[in-house]
């Protein structure tokens, strides 16, 4: 289980993440939602160890992750929001490098890389430089790199970005499958329909603070709203979206 206790991140005295506390249980998919700039990706980076919290604590299976950061990283897989990859490497070389950096046995790594490339439909382009890959293909490389070492904790930040419909469906089922096999999955996305289908519970962040942390069914009942989109709009969207759309259309016609 992943647990955050009062995690805060300050940038020049401004709180990007403000006393965030929640739990993501093993065997469950936890949705982590929020509008742009709400602090989702900053939280993800703190959970992965890319960034240190200004205060608060992050625990995995009851142990502070900083106590054995190396051991924690061995058990974590992460798909970042932006597909930052080494574009001069081929898909196969990149995955091979990640497996070596993680210290996976060569034979097992080769089998898994081969399998992942085949299943994600990248095998034919495995010797092509990533610079030539489409956004969806890059996302598949990231997913393969995050999963190849069979992590206990899976952190997915916008994993559906750029994926085609078929691969999106595969990923949706895969997320559920991973959770059913006892893994802790924290899933951040703007695609509320997918979140609603996949996640058992959601944490909604607004301006760095948690505004909701419950199961989707409970939130629907409590707020008397039919969908997650309605719940999210009420809790985290401040703008009149219809009015803004009209203004944009008016502006380009003026």
């Amino acid at each position: 289980m992943l647990e955050l206790r009062g995690v805060t991140k300050l940038f020049s005295a401004i709180a990007a993440v403000d006393h965030v506390s929640f739990q993501a249980a093993a065997g469950e998919v936890t949705g982590y939602l929020g509008p742009n700039g709400s602090g989702k990706s900053t939280t993800m980076k703190m959970i992965t160890g890319l960034m240190e919290p200004t205060s608060g604590e992050i625990l995995f299976n009851g142990e502070p992750v900083q106590r054995d950061l190396i051991g924690y990283k061995r058990r974590m897989g992460y798909v970042p929001e932006e597909p930052h990859l080494y574009l001069h490497l081929t898909g196969s070389e990149y995955l091979e490098m990640v497996s070596q950096l993680r210290g996976l046995p060569a034979r097992a790594a080769a089998t898994r890389i081969h399998g992942l490339l085949l299943l994600f439909g990248l095998h034919g382009d495995r010797h092509v430089a990533i610079s030539s890959y489409s956004k969806g293909m890059r996302q598949k490389v990231l997913l393969s790199a995050a999963l190849m070492h069979n992590p206990d904790l899976v952190l997915l930040d916008e994993p559906f970005s750029g994926l085609d419909v078929a691969t999106g469906l595969v990923l949706r089922n895969l997320i559920e499958e991973l959770a059913s096999r006892g893994k802790t999955v924290l899933f951040s996305s703007h695609e509320l329909e997918t979140v609603e289908r996949v996640c058992q519970r959601v944490v909604i962040l607004h301006r760095g603070k948690i505004v909701a942390d419950d199961s989707i069914a409970n939130l629907r009942g409590l707020m008397a709203l039919p969908t997650l989109e309605h719940i999210f709009t009420q809790l985290a969207v401040e703008q009149d979206t219809a009015a803004i759309s009209r203004e944009i259309a008016d502006l380009i016609q003026s």
Binding site: I70, K73, H84, Y86, E93, L104, V128
Partner: protein, 562 residues
């Protein structure tokens, strides 16, 4: 000029030296003005040598020979600088896929793009020639004004001098453009992209070799000698020396022949470049657009070499692939290797032209120096590019997979530097010397070279706490521009002394054993020093800027520290 032309001209001009290749987020105008200032400073330093003509007591014949050599030097230097500039701007000389994809949807005529590109190329060429001759171009023509010639004779010499320099620069620039453009037409787009990098490297090597190795025959006797005529056919810098004399009114048959070659050469090069350019607009642009987004790749089995444990293999292969595939890193490394090659060629010239103390088949100073100099510049160059990140934001993968002790990463970096910088030099040295020198001498030299490589790798990695190419880089830390010349002089002097000692040691087993023992002790000391320094540190991914406030640690009189 239309606004579209001006915008495109500016964009193309500032992209001539691709900034992605030189520095991340660099200031274009500032960088170009710095380069121009560097060339102008070089020109000023050379122009001071003209003073010797005013204060000399040499005979007119001796002065004439000296002046001809100087004129040839200026022409050859201009050609070399223009050639290196053309190599640097290799990928931006012709419109590329990015140009097409960005500009094609906009309402811009192809002719506007075409003329903007031509104007940008011409401006870049002119700026390079003017920068490199800004002072010499005014000082040296004074030497060639005919005795008793008045103001107009002076003007003619000045015009002949500048016309020659522009013609020489244009010849080389157009030749390289023509080679590149015609290759693009003859090869398929895929093959051209693959071979273009090799062509670029070959052009770089040829320019350096010709500049440093061409014989000094810029004398009246040298240019007229029968034995040099075949050679002169292949040395364009001498054609343009002939052109200068012809334009300056000296119509000696030798000059007329050379000038004719210069004019024909320039016409052929300019014609070839124009043709290549026209074709590029009709064919290359279409090919670039029609090119599929994903080209089928080749299996690269040779890259799967193991380098010890999985972490070392990952970091060595990552470093190797980065050096081989990143244009930015390759060009910077080529700059270091180019300086090394220049010093190496200066030494080898004596061997090639037969005035070295020893023949090439005996252990000799030039070949020993060549391998040591290349080793030094290779290590320093690779170490320098290790500092420059590639796709900095992609380094998150190294952070989230940091599942090993930091010391193991530092060891992997050591191996990466040794494998990339030293192994090729050691192998090339073995391949060059083994067929011509006694086996014992080759083995001895390689042993000493290996020990020296180990020392240098440790010295350059002292305090290096990064994974190569993954740490943010803060430019401007080092005043390398100022110190580079001093370092090169010191390095050359040390290398010369070291190699003379080595040459003596290679002839005497006892001396050799002592020499090797000293180097091995130094290598062990350097290794230990580097490892102790690295202990207790984490792998660094961000370079901390210098603190805004620095304590001077001043204390009151009589107060002890602590």
């Amino acid at each position: 000029m239309t606004l579209q032309f001006r915008v495109l001209y500016r964009e193309f001009l500032f992209r001539m030296v691709d900034l992605e290749m030189l520095a991340e987020r660099a200031d274009v105008a500032r960088l170009l003005s710095q380069l121009a200032a560097l060339l102008a400073a070089l020109s000023f330093a050379i122009s001071l040598s003209v003073l010797r003509y005013a204060f000399t007591r040499a005979t007119p014949e001796a002065l004439l020979i000296s002046a001809w050599s100087d004129q040839h030097f200026l022409i050859a230097t201009t050609m070399a600088v223009v050639g290196l500039f053309a190599v640097l701007s290799w990928d931006s000389a012709f419109p590329d896929r990015r140009d097409v994809l960005v500009l094609a949807p906009l309402p811009i005529r192809a002719s506007t793009m075409f003329f903007a590109k031509i104007a940008a190329l011409a401006s870049a060429l002119a700026l390079t020639v003017v920068s490199v001759n800004s002072f010499t171009g005014l000082a040296f023509p004074l030497v060639f004004i005919p005795l008793g010639g008045g103001f107009f004779a002076g003007l003619r010499t000045l015009a002949a001098h500048w016309a020659t320099l522009f013609a020489a620069g244009a010849f080389l620039f157009c030749s390289l453009l023509a080679i590149q453009g015609i290759s693009a037409q003859l090869l398929s787009r895929r093959h051209f992209l693959r071979w273009s990098a090799f062509l670029q490297l070959a052009a770089f090597c040829i320019i350096l070799c010709v500049y440093f190795l061409q014989p000094a025959i810029a004398t009246p006797a040298g240019l007229s000698a029968e034995r040099n005529q075949a050679l002169l056919t292949w040395l364009p810098s001498y054609w343009f020396l002939g052109l200068f004399h012809a334009l300056n009114g000296d119509l000696h048959p030798v000059h007329t022949l050379l000038a004719w070659r210069a004019v024909v050469g320039l016409a052929v090069a300019a014609g070839g470049a124009s043709l290549a350019f026209l074709l590029s607009y009709f064919r290359t642009l279409r090919k670039a657009v029609e090119e599929p987004d994903i080209l089928p790749g080749r299996r690269r089995a040779s890259f799967r070499l193991p380098f010890g444990d999985s972490l070392r293999t990952a970091i060595v292969l990552f470093s190797l692939r980065t050096v081989l595939r990143s244009r930015q890193h390759r060009v910077i490394l080529a700059g270091y290797l180019g300086v090394g090659s220049a010093i190496e060629l200066a030494y080898l010239k004596s061997l090639i032209y037969g005035y070295a103390a020893d023949p090439w088949w005996r252990v000799n100073i030039p070949l020993l120096v060549a391998s040591v100099v290349m080793l030094c510049f290779s290590i320093v160059g690779v170490r320098a590019v290790f500092d420059l990140p590639i796709a900095l934001r992609a380094n998150w993968i190294f952070r989230v997979t940091a599942v090993h002790d930091a010391e193991l990463y530092f060891r992997a970096s050591w191996l990466a530097l040794f494998a990339i910088a030293c192994l090729p030099v050691l192998l090339a040295t073995a391949a060059t010397l083994a067929p011509i020198w006694p086996a014992a001498a080759v083995a001895g030299h390689l042993l000493l070279l290996g020990a020296l490589a180990s020392i240098l790798v440790d010295l350059t990695l002292f305090g290096f706490r990064k994974i190569p190419f993954t740490c943010a880089y803060l430019p401007g830390k080092a005043n390398i521009h100022v110190l580079a010349g001093a370092y090169i002089i010191v390095l050359t002097a040390i290398t010369d002394g070291l190699v003379r000692g080595e040459r003596r040691a290679l002839g005497d087993p006892v001396s050799f054993a002592k020499f090797l023992a000293v180097l091995c002790i130094a290598a062990v000391w350097a290794r230990r020093r580097t490892r102790i320094r690295a202990q207790g540190f984490d792998v660094q991914f961000d370079q901390a800027p210098p603190a805004d406030l620095m304590t001077l640690e001043l204390r009151r009189d009589g107060v002890l520290p602590g």
